[in-house]
């Protein structure tokens, strides 16, 4: 009896300690959580918040690397972007041309190939790998490789076209051909997108197609009424990422053309790089960056806003 009661007292006591313990733990865990995310919080404050604020501030100054302190110039840098600096406008239009061509083309090619490689043909695994491989190639290496392929005299592409009696095309030597050439090269990288679409295609329930078969739908109807609508979330995602990525295209132009010929491939990012790291006009470059940031943000928001009308979000 006595033993029993002492035991129950013990359990009561241990319960009390446990409650205290869990209270302590809970209070403790309030800062344990912060402790875990602490490295990121520091990084966030330095590399996101401060950097963003600093960029906006610098864009209102005439800061150069050599200078001691930034000189306040108000909106003069922005005036320069939109009025005096003709190259800013040229590079912006070049970039719009590039984005407008490479993003839709890349999506179309990737989607088509995904459809083809979703069919049950022999060796499709090998084909998928082959199409994916180029997207693994480092952009710097790819640029060097395509620089060689695009040579006007005896470049691989012109030799190939020559087999069909086509005269050599001055791919990177003439302003009217340079941008299409870079778009063509960008298509070499569609593999990654294709893999995303393939995964999406495999996720479409087969019952939908069976039901369509019973209703006597043909292949085109199935594509337009089932496949494409169900793939819109992925198409949407790749559109947004494609826009953000292509607007910041840099390496290919830097390595292959340096912006030439006659500024035909001077992309916005390259122009910004030149201003920042060749001429060290940090204030002006910051203004250039802010403008591109606003454009990308506006485009993303716009695509997002229209997405309700064309993107299918499951079930309901």
């Amino acid at each position: 009896m006595a033993a029993q009661s002492s035991a129950s007292v013990a359990t009561l006591e241990s319960r009390a300690t446990q409650a205290r313990l869990s209270r302590w733990r809970f209070r403790n865990r309030r800062w344990v959580g912060w402790l875990f995310i602490f490295p990121w919080v520091i990084g966030f404050l330095i590399f996101d918040v401060s950097a963003l604020v600093l960029n906006f501030y610098l864009s209102l100054t005439s800061f150069t690397v050599g200078a001691r302190a930034p000189q306040w110039v108000g909106l003069a840098n922005y005036e320069r972007v939109f009025v005096q600096d003709k190259l800013a406008g040229v590079s912006f239009m070049n970039t719009v041309y590039y984005v407008g061509l490479s993003v839709p083309l890349g999506m179309a090619v990737a989607f088509t190939l995904a459809l083809l490689l979703n069919a049950e043909i022999r060796g499709r695994g090998v084909f998928r790998t082959i199409y994916y491989l180029p997207s693994l190639v480092p952009v710097a290496a790819a640029s060097i490789i395509w620089l060689f392929i695009f040579r006007t005299r005896n470049g691989l592409l012109n030799l190939f076209l020559g087999l069909f009696g086509i005269n050599p095309v001055p791919w990177l030597a003439r302003p009217e051909w340079a941008k299409p050439a870079l778009v063509l090269m960008s298509l070499w990288f569609f593999g990654q997108q294709m893999v995303i679409y393939l995964a999406g295609l495999q996720g479409i329930p087969t019952e939908l197609y069976e039901a369509a078969d019973i209703d006597g739908a043909d292949a085109l109807q199935k594509l337009l009424r089932i496949t494409i609508p169900l793939m819109t979330p992925m198409l949407f995602f790749n559109l947004v990422m494609g826009i953000i990525g292509s607007f910041q295209v840099f390496t290919a132009a830097f390595l292959m053309t340096g912006g030439g010929p006659m500024n035909a491939t001077l992309f916005y990012m390259l122009h910004l790089y030149n201003n920042a790291f060749r001429y060290f006009l940090m204030g002006y470059s910051s203004a250039l960056a802010v403008v591109l940031f606003v454009v990308i943000l506006a485009l993303t928001l716009f695509v997002n806003k229209t997405s309700g009308r064309w993107v299918y979000y499951g079930g309901t």
Partner: protein, 283 residues
């Protein structure tokens, strides 16, 4: 009807085969051309018709490339950056992801929304301020600008990826471990990490590709010091020699840059596909 349908299907498959095969040759040919050119003697590089087989095979090109520039050093420099990025991603980002996924603390949700919003932040707005920060600290032409952000988990995408995976793990296990007196650090190390090998592998591979392929950051921070060059900067320098043919060297160095990525791809193919499809993100 079934016969004609079968015929139609066979015809369709034949057509698909044709298109896909032509496309595959077009995709692969530039790579084969690169390997081929890297093995050609200087006088055979400019060809008037497409000759894929180098004759004679100039293996010597690779040896001469190493004489010409310190490729070994460039390789170790690149690997230093890759390794730092791997440690940052696998150790630090996973800690942060654990905090977001497995601990309930005040302010967590708002911090997570901030994290997600930084994923959409285009790199262009941080280019100049980063440079000024590192310049003021006197750290341009050192590896620190490329390493410190990695150690501070400045990669929201990886944190997001791992956090999603961690949340799918059974919480009963965590509770059991907690009752046994295991700390959060212990749970992270003994339970969460061992159970998260798929997502860790995916992140490791993405990190490798991303750090290995990076061109702009090394260009900005390391191009001033020859001994800090990465392979990509070496390639950039090779291109710059005017008036002499360095094409075979350029191709050889390109091949050397591509091989490690292919090896990593071959080893981790499963995780790459899984990661790409899960995230839907472009490298």
């Amino acid at each position: 009807m079934s016969v004609s349908m079968r015929q139609a299907r066979a015809l369709g498959h034949g057509l698909i085969y044709l298109i896909v095969s032509v496309g595959a040759v077009a995709m692969l040919f530039p790579l084969l051309w690169t390997v081929s050119t890297s093995l050609k003697t200087v006088d055979k590089i400019v060809v008037t018709r497409i000759a894929l087989m180098p004759d004679p095979v100039a293996w010597n090109n690779y040896v001469k490339l190493f004489d010409r520039m310190d490729v070994t050093k460039q390789f170790t420099n690149t690997m230093t950056i890759v390794l730092a990025a791997e440690i940052g991603a696998l150790a630090i980002c996973s800690l942060v992801a654990y905090g977001f996924a497995c601990i309930d603390f005040p302010g967590r949700d708002i911090m997570f929304i901030l994290l997600l919003s930084t994923m959409m932040l285009p790199g262009v707005v941080t280019l100049v301020p980063y440079f000024i920060m590192w310049d003021r600290l006197g750290l341009v032409n050192t590896f620190y600008p490329l390493i410190i952000p990695r150690f501070l988990a400045h990669n929201p995408f990886y944190i997001f990826l791992m956090r999603q995976f961690f949340r799918g793990l059974p919480t009963d296990l965590f509770d059991a471990a907690r009752i046994d007196g295991c700390s959060d650090l212990g749970i992270w190390r003994r339970i969460v990490l061992p159970m998260s090998m798929p997502v860790l592998a995916t992140v490791a591979i993405f990190t490798f590709q991303w750090a290995w392929n990076d061109f702009m950051s090394p260009l900005i921070y390391l191009s001033g010091d020859k001994h800090k060059w990465t392979l990509a900067l070496g390639l950039n320098a090779l291109k710059g020699f005017e008036g002499e043919t360095t094409v075979h060297f350029q191709m050889a160095l390109s091949v050397l840059m591509i091989i490690p990525v292919l090896v990593v791809f071959a080893l981790g193919q499963k995780y790459i596909i899984q990661g790409v499809t899960f995230s839907g993100i472009k490298g």
